[in-house]
């Protein structure tokens, strides 16, 4: 006789703001991720369940959700790591308008990215030779340390200041601005620094560190924001 696999109780948010948590029972499998669970519920129990994902390997940043109260990238979060009591509660990200079930509207997050000075301003064209950047130069190393953001909005969701201050642009936008300010190829470094210090900018950060604690790719937006705050005194960072 075939043995019934062990079951996990999963509660998933259904609806928009006035929705509710609905319970499902999903078999526990080896190497199961939270995204696998959501997909299984959608395929086998609840075809109308709305959620967002794309690459499933931690590159695209689409599948972030709130898992047992904490924002996480669900495709790289193993169930074993988070479902300690055999219960998994999956909700949409905090601090973003909800659309349906687990899907949020990312427009405010992206808009604030632009607001904090995100567009790169090229100082040369494709006809020019590539800029010679020493990978070991202090500016480049500082910029490199803050790159590789996948725009998953986990930090934005984790940040308490975003939660209580409607104008605060958030950690990802400031982290992005910090990479540009340290990029000598960026033509508007001073303008980016000025934008970072406008209303809703880096001076609103309370240094809680939730962004760094939750960043799935191990970046430290807190450190980038500290760099920006330091620039309030010293101006644009320079290669020493």
């Amino acid at each position: 006789m075939e043995q019934t696999p062990e079951q996990l109780e999963v509660r998933i948010w259904r609806g928009k703001d006035d929705g509710q948590l609905v319970s499902y029972r999903v078999p526990i499998r080896d190497n199961q991720t939270v995204l696998d669970i959501v997909t299984e519920v959608q395929r086998l129990h609840e075809p109308s369940l709305a959620y967002r994902f794309s690459c499933r390997v931690g590159v695209c940043g689409s599948c972030a959700m709130t898992v047992n109260g904490q924002p996480r990238w669900t495709c790289r979060t193993h169930v074993k790591k988070v479902a300690g009591e055999g219960l998994l509660t999956i909700e949409p990200l905090r601090n973003l308008p909800r659309i349906k079930d687990l899907v949020c509207d990312l427009a405010p997050f992206i808009d604030k990215w632009q607001q904090a000075g995100a567009p790169f301003d090229a100082t040369s064209s494709r006809k020019d030779p590539p800029a010679a950047i020493d990978p070991q130069s202090p500016l480049r190393r500082t910029a490199d340390a803050a790159l590789q953001c996948i725009n998953c909005a986990v930090c934005y969701s984790a940040c308490d200041v975003v939660n209580w201050n409607r104008d605060y642009v958030g950690p990802a936008a400031l982290n992005r601005a910090w990479t540009l300010i340290n990029d000598v190829r960026h033509g508007k470094r001073q303008q980016t620094l000025d934008k970072v210090f406008s209303e809703g900018g880096c001076s609103n950060c309370h240094s809680h560190g939730n962004c760094t604690r939750h960043c799935p790719v191990g970046l430290s937006p807190s450190e980038s924001i500290v760099g920006l705050k330091r620039a309030a005194f010293s101006g644009l960072p320079r290669d020493k």
Partner: protein
């Protein structure tokens, strides 16, 4: 504007740090024989050093505290930025007036 307020609050905090420590030390020293108005005035009247000390203290507090109040009001009460600006400015005027009045009164 935000940048200047940010810098002003940090710089005033740097000034206030040692001043607060000296002020606390002075309190401990001043109350060793009980606290009396006569003893305070004996120390401060005609003393330009203490007058300058507390004058700088008052100016630093006038800069530091209202900037914090401005942010706390905006973040925690949901009032608009212009409203938090006005309340913070009124608070700064109060601190400056009351503080300098005290400093000049004991000189």
């Amino acid at each position: 504007m935000e940048r200047y307020l940010f810098v002003a609050q940090r710089v005033s905090a740097m000034i206030l740090g040692p001043l607060v420590l000296i002020h606390l030390g002075l309190i401990l020293f001043a109350v060793r024989n009980g606290l009396s108005g006569a003893e305070i005035l004996a120390r401060t009247q005609g003393n330009i050093g203490w007058t300058l000390f507390y004058g700088i203290f008052v100016l630093s507090v006038t800069i530091h505290a209202p900037i914090g109040i401005r942010n706390i009001l905006y973040e925690w009460t949901g009032i608009s930025r212009p409203a938090s600006n006005i309340i913070a400015l009124l608070f700064a005027i109060f601190l400056l007036t009351a503080g300098l009045r005290s400093v000049t009164a004991i000189y």
